[in-house]
Structures are given as structure tokens and as C-alpha cells.
């Protein structure tokens, strides 16, 4: 067993340092407390580790080796679109003219940045079939909240009090949480036997208090809502708007667009569909597209092109919902997404989605003999299957996930959606080869055999990782949330 990984604080030795600062070339005769009253200064020094530069590099390199990213291997985490993160995007985002620029520089000195944002707004509007796009939101959930705030403002501008947001039971947890944060109430409706929105339940749920229906399409089950046109009609007839959760957009680029399906607002997760890296949990970007009726409510600011072809920030009119984030969104992520779009172009993006969908269907068909597929037929970019056939051997879906770690795979999303028992949600993405998919499929088949013949191997997995299963109950009951080394 490998020894425990030290905390950076545990490496500290008084007198070591890793920093090199510019010299002090201004007068320094005066004591600091003659410039700032002593009462405002720290009474005790800040207790940070004292380490050398080599210590820093070795420490973080050691941590990185205890982490698994897309570059390490297959990462079929459903609804997260763990596709390859192109390296050119990383390089261009680091160009000094894009990385070392200040949001408050005179507009004439950031024309290249504004041009990039303006073009990206237009490209994303074309991709989603929307009339305008705001690049402000920092993540998908932030985009949801922004979109719902616009929907709320729209209804209020018409003198209507609409407070209910309808979501299917298979929706992402962020949907109801975003509704609550926008001061709206959630109404959850059941899916039908085919995993689709139950039209009768929807009809019963809509009314004069309906603000919006939030829908992920394809859904978290990987299924396209075949009745989307009827759904849109029902909601619109009741006076509500349709919100498109773009988490699963990787399935539909160039094939169908939320705007054409009848959605009024859409967010895209650039850190999913547009290949920007997830960064171990962020930063993402969640631009929001809207139909023309919602343009007055867009958050501030957006980028506009002037008559002389220069670009400016536009702070919008009185109906804008206001500001949702400091400055202009996660610009560094927007740069990467723009480079991605320019790498593929519109036809290339369509090929991306086609390949993502074929990969998912191929895996579903090959795994179907070994797992229960609750919704057979065609799936889109991802599919769900149930591991409940393994329960008879005492093996749970969580055990299968942990066993996959021993074979060098990141497991699928598990136990979501909540509507499928012992659920596994698999999203291969388009950047994986057939050999990679076959390797994973063979491994899954092997794990099924193990579950039948030697279940303890699966139940006690993982066996090869740095660390075995962790006591999450203890972590929550007696929280140790910092090292208190200071």
C-alpha cells in the first residue's frame, strides 16, 4: 500500500520559499504601520506553508497523478459530455492579447475580444435557432437561473403573475433549484412508460399560473421527446414559455434546433457540447439564447456591432433583468468554445452529433443482452440501463461503477435519473474510437460474469486505486473541512 499523500502544509519547513517578487524600488524608510494604522494590520502572521519551488511542483504533480481526466482514458459520464478537450483551445486562450486583458480597458483597446464575443453570440444563436444570445452566465445552472429570471420578468411585464415551473421527474436537480432561486415554484410531472413527457399530466399541470416548462431534449434518459411540437403547443396555449436545458445538446447539432422545436429560452453548457475542459469542476460557461420576445430582458451587457463596424458593450434597456455576474461572463471559456466552433464549422458540428449518437446506439445494442435497457429503440447521445439484474448476486450498480475503476475507466453516471432503478447513464461522446467502446463493452460483460461467479470481487472493488472506498458517513457526521494547520 502506498503511503498517504502529504498535505502541502505538512511539507512546510521554516525558512524555505518558492517565490520571487519584483524589487521594492520606491522609498521604504517608513514602517508599514505608518502607512496603514496598526489596528488594521494582521495581529498574527498568515500561516501558509514554507516550501521550495521543487516542493510545489512535486506536490501538485503527485496530486495530478491521483486524478483521472479525459486525457487519461474513457470517461462515459452521462449528461456530462466528457469529450476530448482540444489542445489548440488551451493554447489560444493563453495568448497575451486574450488572457492578459482587463474588462475595464477602453473599448477601442479590446476590439478583438469584443469581436470574438459578438461572433460567438451569432454562432450560438444560429446553432440553437434563437434570436439573441447572452454570454454572461458562468455555468449551466447559472444559465438556467438567468433564463428563468427573464421568463419571470417577461410575464411580469405583461401584468401576469405566473409562478409555476413545470419539470419532468427525470430532470436535472439544477432545474428545480434554479426555479427556487428565481422565486418560482416547481411542479414535477411524471414521465410516461416510454420515458417521455406524459401529455395528459402536462395538460393537467398547465394553467394560468404556468411560467414555464423546463425540458432537457434529448432527456436525461437519452430520448428525444417525439411529441415536442405538441408539448410546445400545450405550454404556449396556456401562456407559458419553454425553457431548453442544453446539457444534452451534443446529440442534435445541425439536426434540429431548440428554436425550431418551439423553445423560447435555451442555455448551452460550453463545457459539455463545445469541448471546453471541465477543470475538475469548473470553470464552465452557460450562455443563454432567447427568442425575440425576451430580448428586452437579457442580462447586461451584450456585445453589439456599431455602424462603423466597431464593437461595443450594450447595457440594455430598463426591462433587462440586470447583471448576473461581474464583467462579461467567463471570457477565457468563450475563447475556447469559439476556437472549437471554428475548428468544425457548421457541417463538422453536425458530424460531431451524428457520431456521438451512433456511438451511444452501438454501445446500447451491444450491452443490451447483459443489462436491462428500460427504453429500447433508438437513443440519442446517451442511454440508460439498469443494473437490477445483478442484485440477485448481491451486486449493486455502485459496485459495478467501482469495479470499472480497476480497469482504468471512469464509470458512467449512476443512480440518475432517479426514475430508473439501479441506473447507469452512459454517454460515450463522438471523440471515442470503436476500439475504446469495444474495450469498455467487453469489460462490462466481464464484470457481469464476475458478479455471477465471484461477486465479492465486484462488491469489494476497487482493488487497484490509491485508496479504497471512503467512509462518506463519517465525513458528513463529523466534518473535517480544513486542515487547521494554521
Amino acid at each position: 500500500m502506498k503511503p498517504e499523500q502529504s498535505l502541502i502544509f505538512e511539507l512546510s519547513r521554516p525558512g524555505r520559499s518558492a517565490y520571487s517578487l519584483p524589487v521594492c524600488d520606491v522609498p521604504e524608510e517608513e514602517a508599514i504601520d505608518s502607512l496603514i494604522p496598526a489596528g488594521l494590520l494582521r495581529s498574527e502572521p498568515v500561516l501558509l506553508p514554507e516550501v521550495s519551488e521543487v516542493d510545489v511542483i512535486r506536490h501538485y504533480t503527485a496530486l495530478s497523478r491521483r486524478n483521472f481526466g479525459v486525457d487519461n482514458g474513457f470517461y462515459p459520464l452521462g449528461s456530462c459530455t466528457m469529450k476530448y478537450n482540444p489542445k489548440i483551445n488551451e493554447d489560444v486562450a493563453r495568448f497575451p492579447g486574450l488572457a492578459k486583458i482587463h474588462p475595464y480597458q477602453p473599448e477601442e483597446s479590446i476590439q478583438g475580444a469584443l469581436e470574438l464575443m459578438y461572433t460567438l453570440q451569432k454562432d450560438l444563436a444560429a446553432l440553437t435557432g434563437m434570436d439573441a444570445v447572452s454570454l454572461q452566465p458562468a455555468a449551466g445552472a447559472h444559465g438556467e437561473w438567468t433564463g428563468l429570471m427573464m421568463i419571470r420578468a417577461y410575464h411580469e411585464s405583461r401584468g401576469e403573475k405566473r409562478t409555476k415551473v413545470i419539470v419532468p421527474d427525470s430532470s436535472h436537480g439544477t432545474n428545480p433549484a434554479s426555479a427556487a432561486a428565481a422565486g418560482l415554484e416547481t411542479v414535477t410531472i411524471p414521465s410516461n412508460a416510454k420515458g417521455m413527457v406524459d401529455l395528459e399530466a402536462l395538460k393537467a399541470a398547465v394553467g394560468s399560473d404556468t411560467a414555464a416548462l423546463m425540458l432537457t431534449n434529448p432527456s436525461t434518459l437519452g430520448l428525444f421527446e417525439t411529441q415536442i411540437v405538441e408539448i410546445a403547443e400545450i405550454v404556449h396555449e396556456a401562456g407559458g414559455l419553454l425553457y431548453y436545458d442544453g446539457a444534452n445538446s451534443n446529440a442534435i447539432m445541425g439536426i434540429t434546433r431548440p428554436g425550431d422545436m418551439g423553445f423560447d429560452v435555451v442555455h448551452l453548457n460550453l463545457h459539455k457540447t463545445m469541448s471546453t475542459p471541465h477543470g475538475g469542476g469548473g470553470p464552465g460557461a452557460g450562455p443563454v439564447g432567447v427568442k425575440s420576445i425576451l430580448i428586452p430582458f437579457l442580462p447586461q451587457p451584450t456585445v453589439v456591432q456599431n455602424e462603423d463596424n466597431s464593437f461595443s458593450l450594450n447595457y440594455g434597456g430598463p426591462e433587462s433583468i440586470g447583471r448576473v455576474k461581474a464583467f462579461y461572463g467567463n471570457f477565457g471559456i468563450l475563447v475556447r468554445a469559439y476556437a472549437y466552433i471554428r475548428t468544425y464549422g457548421p457541417d463538422g458540428l453536425r458530424e460531431v452529433s451524428e457520431n456521438a449518437v451512433l456511438n451511444a446506439n452501438y454501445m446500447m445494442h451491444r450491452l443490451a443482452p447483459y443489462f436491462e435497457i428500460p427504453y429500447p429503440g433508438v437513443c440519442k447521445h446517451e442511454f440508460v440501463m439498469s443494473g437490477r439484474n445483478l442484485k440477485q448476486y448481491g451486486v449493486r450498480t455502485l459496485d459495478v461503477a467501482k469495479r470499472l475503476l480497476d480497469f482504468g475507466y471512469h464509470p458512467p453516471t449512476v443512480y440518475f435519473p432517479l426514475t430508473v432503478e439501479e441506473c447507469m447513464m452512459i454517454e460515450p461522446t463522438e471523440t471515442e474510437s470503436k476500439e475504446t467502446l469495444d474495450g469498455f463493452i467487453e469489460t462490462m460483460i466481464r464484470i457481469v460474469k464476475e458478479a455471477q461467479e465471484t461477486p465479492e470481487i465486484v462488491i469489494n472493488a476497487p482493488h487497484t486505486t490509491e485508496i479504497s472506498r471512503l467512509d462518506e458517513t463519517q465525513a458528513a457526521r463529523k466534518p473535517v473541512l480544513n486542515c487547521s494547520c494554521g
Binding site: 493563453r94 483597446s109 451512433l358 473535517v480
Partner: protein
């Protein structure tokens, strides 16, 4: 031409279609009604080859003045600090940047430990007991702090100083509207929150007082004097802080803050036109289970070995849905890593030294620029690395800044944008990067632009 990110060959495609039992790709999309199918080519930017894309991006980049081409005296929330070289090497390790949120702890110990160390660093800097894994930015962290305070106190009135960053106040206004909270703004006096007006505004309905220190004008607020005003009515004190300043300034925790938020951009994060940066969020222990966002905790594995997991998840959207403490999911983990590496590099001595450098250089600059004909420091309150310079009567700061850009400088923020009474006032930031000669030359060039 085969696309370089798409490994599927024509033969693969045929074999896979056969396995699925379809004759054409079209069959995979039969579930999408024809009426909503997109026909033709979307009107988007065209594809470029790798070399053409590099050139195109370089062209866009070269249209922007940047910190390499211009000496920056611009701050107002985003600062041009020296970024230690090792940071980019660490965050360029793709095990970090190509990973998702650490849902599988056995293969995510690196990220989880990095977050745990980040939380520890934030606690040490702020003097607070508990910190989360990060927020989108300082402004959204500020708004979330207000919402938390309202929830914890079951009160709806928030008192915010006008010396808080205008954009943080704007984000708060958006959030407060959604939650039905009342926001009362308190004016400033000599560059800091007017304590008499603050005392007058606080009452038994006040959920929290929210201040920033160093504030938007760079001035250091007297937190020790504000604290008893709000705690006497059992409201909460929320402080937005510059984490770089906390290497030398007294911690808000020690001065009685209940929630401390801010933006970690000064800690080794590129300016990037203002994003992505990294919000931080720290609270006193009683508020722990009300915190938004991811939190990492220490625990043990089956062999008793120390390890780290995402914890207290009963607060979060994927468990609690509409009852979650926040809707935040993705945060800014990679930038939190930047901040952690920065703090590891700087250490105890470096954080003190960089803080003192900022104080000395900005004070030198304040003296120098204050000597310009018709100009003077606007306030006398103590400041960290940023101060307000009153320019001669009738000066137009935005026009001056346009002239300065042509001379190779990014001038200070035009305060007239947000404070009509401060038209003709420039908010000047001076970090450790500015040399004496740059400051002297800036003074000369600025004088020429007046």
C-alpha cells in the same frame, strides 16, 4: 478530409450501423419529427484548418492592448499582479483540467485534496472556520452571501455599503429581486462607509450588513467598528475581501465577520477580460450547513487511510432539488487550483512581502500623482493598493484613458461611471509589478493628457 478529433472511420461506421441494425444514419434520428428537422447548413462561422485558426486567433488577440504591451494602473476588481510561472505548469496538467467534478473519490483524490487545501487556505486568509470549494466569482459569492444571511436570520432587509463593487451590488440587486429581499444602500464618507448613517439604518429587521474591505475605492473599512452595530440586533456581518490584502490586513474573521466572500483573481489568476476568476465563500461554523456549493471533507478509507470526499451534499441541488441552499453545480475548480498554487508558492513570507510591496508602491504613486497640477487624493482613509485621484476640474476620465492607451498605459477606472458625484475621479491601482520609473513616467504622461 477526416476530422482530427473524430476517430470513426467509414469502416467503423458500417460495422457499428450493422450492429445496431440500421441501413442509414437517418434511422438514428427517426424520433425527431420532420417538422423540426434542420435542413441545410447553419449560418455559422466557417471551419478553419489548425494553422489558419492560430493565425485568426492571433489577429483577434493582437487587436487588444494587454498587460504585456501596456503598463496597467487599472484595478477596480481585476488586478495585474505577477503570476508565478509554475502556476500555468500545474494547471496545464491534463489530469486536473480534463477531469469532471470529483464524483468518484477513488480516482479523484488529487482534485479532492487540492480543494481541501484550497478550503484550508481560504480559512487561514479570512480567519473563518469553514470555506467551500469556490463560487463563480466574487460578485455572485457576494449575492449568495446575502441570500444565506436572509435565510439564516429569517429577515428580509439587507444593508449594503455604496463602497462595495458596483457590479457586486448589481448582481445582488438581481438576486434580491428574485428572493423578495429589500436592499438599502448606505453612503460613504471620506472613502469609507458612513458609520453614522449605517447605525441609523440598522434595525431589528436587518438580516445583514454587507461591506467590502479594501472597498471599491481601495480604502480599508473599519470592520471592528461596524461589527457591534449589526451584531447588537443579531444580524450578520458579511465582508467581501481582497484575498491578497489578507496577507497583511487583519482577518475579517477575527474582527467578527459571519460570512467572508471575495474574488481570488489576485491570487495568480489571469485577468481574461474579467473571467473566469474564482469566488470564495467562508462562514462561521453555525452557518456551515447553509453554505452553497461543493465542500470537500476529510475521512478514511476501508484501510483507515486518509482520503477526501465531497461532503455535506444534503445541501445541494442534485439531492435536495428545489430545497437546495443554492442551484450552483459547476464552480471554478481549476481557478481555485491556481489560487492554491499561488499561496503555496508565496507562503507565509511571500504573502506578507507582496502585500507590503502593494502598499508601498501604491502609496508612492498616490504621493506622486497627488502632486500633479490640479489633482489630489480624494480621500484620507487608509488604503491598500488602490486609491481615488481627483483630477482637475472638468477632466473626462474616459477620454484621458483613451489617450493613455495610445501612450502605452491602462489608466485607472473612471468612477463617474457609477458615482455621478465622482465624475473626474480616477481609481488608480498600483501592484507590485509597477516599478518606480513606470509610476514616474505614468505621472508625466497623465499630466500631459490632462
Amino acid at each position: 478530409m477526416k476530422h482530427r478529433y473524430l476517430p470513426m472511420t467509414e469502416q467503423d461506421r458500417q460495422e457499428m450501423m450493422e450492429a445496431v441494425g440500421i441501413q442509414s444514419m437517418e434511422e438514428l434520428f427517426i424520433d425527431i419529427p420532420q417538422s423540426v428537422r434542420y435542413q441545410g447548413t447553419m449560418p455559422m462561422s466557417e471551419a478553419l484548418d489548425e494553422y489558419a485558426l492560430l493565425r485568426h486567433m492571433k489577429e483577434l488577440a493582437d487587436k487588444n492592448a494587454n498587460f504585456d504591451t501596456h503598463a496597467s494602473f487599472l484595478g477596480a476588481g481585476i488586478y495585474d499582479h505577477h503570476i508565478p510561472v509554475v502556476i500555468n505548469h500545474v494547471i496545464s496538467r491534463s489530469e486536473f483540467y480534463t477531469a469532471y467534478t470529483p464524483y468518484q473519490p477513488e480516482i479523484s483524490q488529487g482534485e479532492l485534496q487540492a480543494i481541501f487545501e484550497f478550503q484550508s487556505y481560504i480559512c487561514e486568509l479570512t480567519g473563518m472556520k469553514v470555506a467551500n470549494a469556490s463560487m463563480y466569482d466574487g460578485a455572485t459569492a457576494f449575492a449568495e452571501a446575502a441570500v444565506l444571511a436572509a435565510g439564516a436570520t429569517k429577515r428580509k432587509k439587507l444593508i449594503v455599503s455604496r463602497t462595495v463593487h458596483p457590479e457586486a451590488r448589481q448582481v445582488l440587486a438581481t438576486s434580491a429581486g428574485a428572493w423578495g429581499l429589500e436592499v438599502v444602500e448606505i453612503d460613504y464618507k471620506d472613502g469609507v462607509t458612513d458609520q453614522a448613517k449605517l447605525a441609523e439604518a440598522i434595525d431589528g429587521d436587518t438580516a445583514a450588513v454587507l461591506v467590502q474591505s479594501p472597498n471599491f475605492f481601495g480604502a480599508i473599512e473599519d470592520l471592528g467598528a461596524i461589527e457591534p452595530l449589526i451584531h447588537s440586533v443579531k444580524g450578520l456581518l458579511v465582508v467581501s475581501a481582497n484575498p491578497l490584502a489578507l496577507g497583511v490586513l487583519e482577518t475579517p474573521g477575527k474582527l467578527g465577520a459571519d460570512i467572508v466572500v471575495g474574488d481570488a483573481q489576485p491570487l495568480g489568476i489571469p485577468a481574461s477580460l474579467g473571467g473566469p476568476t474564482c469566488g470564495f465563500f467562508a462562514v462561521a461554523e453555525p452557518l456551515m450547513r447553509r453554505m452553497p456549493g461543493r465542500i470537500v471533507g476529510q475521512t478514511v478509507d476501508r484501510n483507515g487511510k486518509r482520503g477526501f470526499v465531497l461532503t455535506l451534499q444534503a445541501r445541494e441541488q442534485h439531492i435536495r432539488r428545489e430545497k437546495a441552499t443554492s442551484n450552483i453545480c459547476s464552480n471554478q475548480a481549476l481557478l481555485a487550483l491556481c489560487a492554491s498554487v499561488y499561496l503555496s508558492v508565496m507562503g507565509k513570507e511571500g504573502m506578507r512581502e507582496v502585500g507590503e510591496l502593494n502598499i508601498r508602491k501604491s502609496h508612492y504613486a498616490a504621493g506622486k500623482l497627488g502632486e500633479l497640477t490640479g489633482a489630489a487624493p480624494a480621500f484620507t482613509a487608509p488604503f491598500f493598493n488602490e486609491f481615488v485621484l481627483k483630477l482637475p476640474e472638468g477632466s473626462n476620465v474616459s477620454e484621458i484613458n483613451s489617450k493613455l492607451v495610445k501612450e502605452g498605459y491602462l489608466g485607472g477606472y473612471d468612477l463617474g461611471r457609477d458615482y455621478p458625484e465622482l465624475a473626474g475621479h480616477m481609481l488608480v491601482a498600483v501592484t507590485e509589478k509597477r516599478s518606480k520609473s513606470e509610476i514616474d513616467q505614468f505621472a508625466t504622461v497623465l499630466e500631459g493628457c490632462l
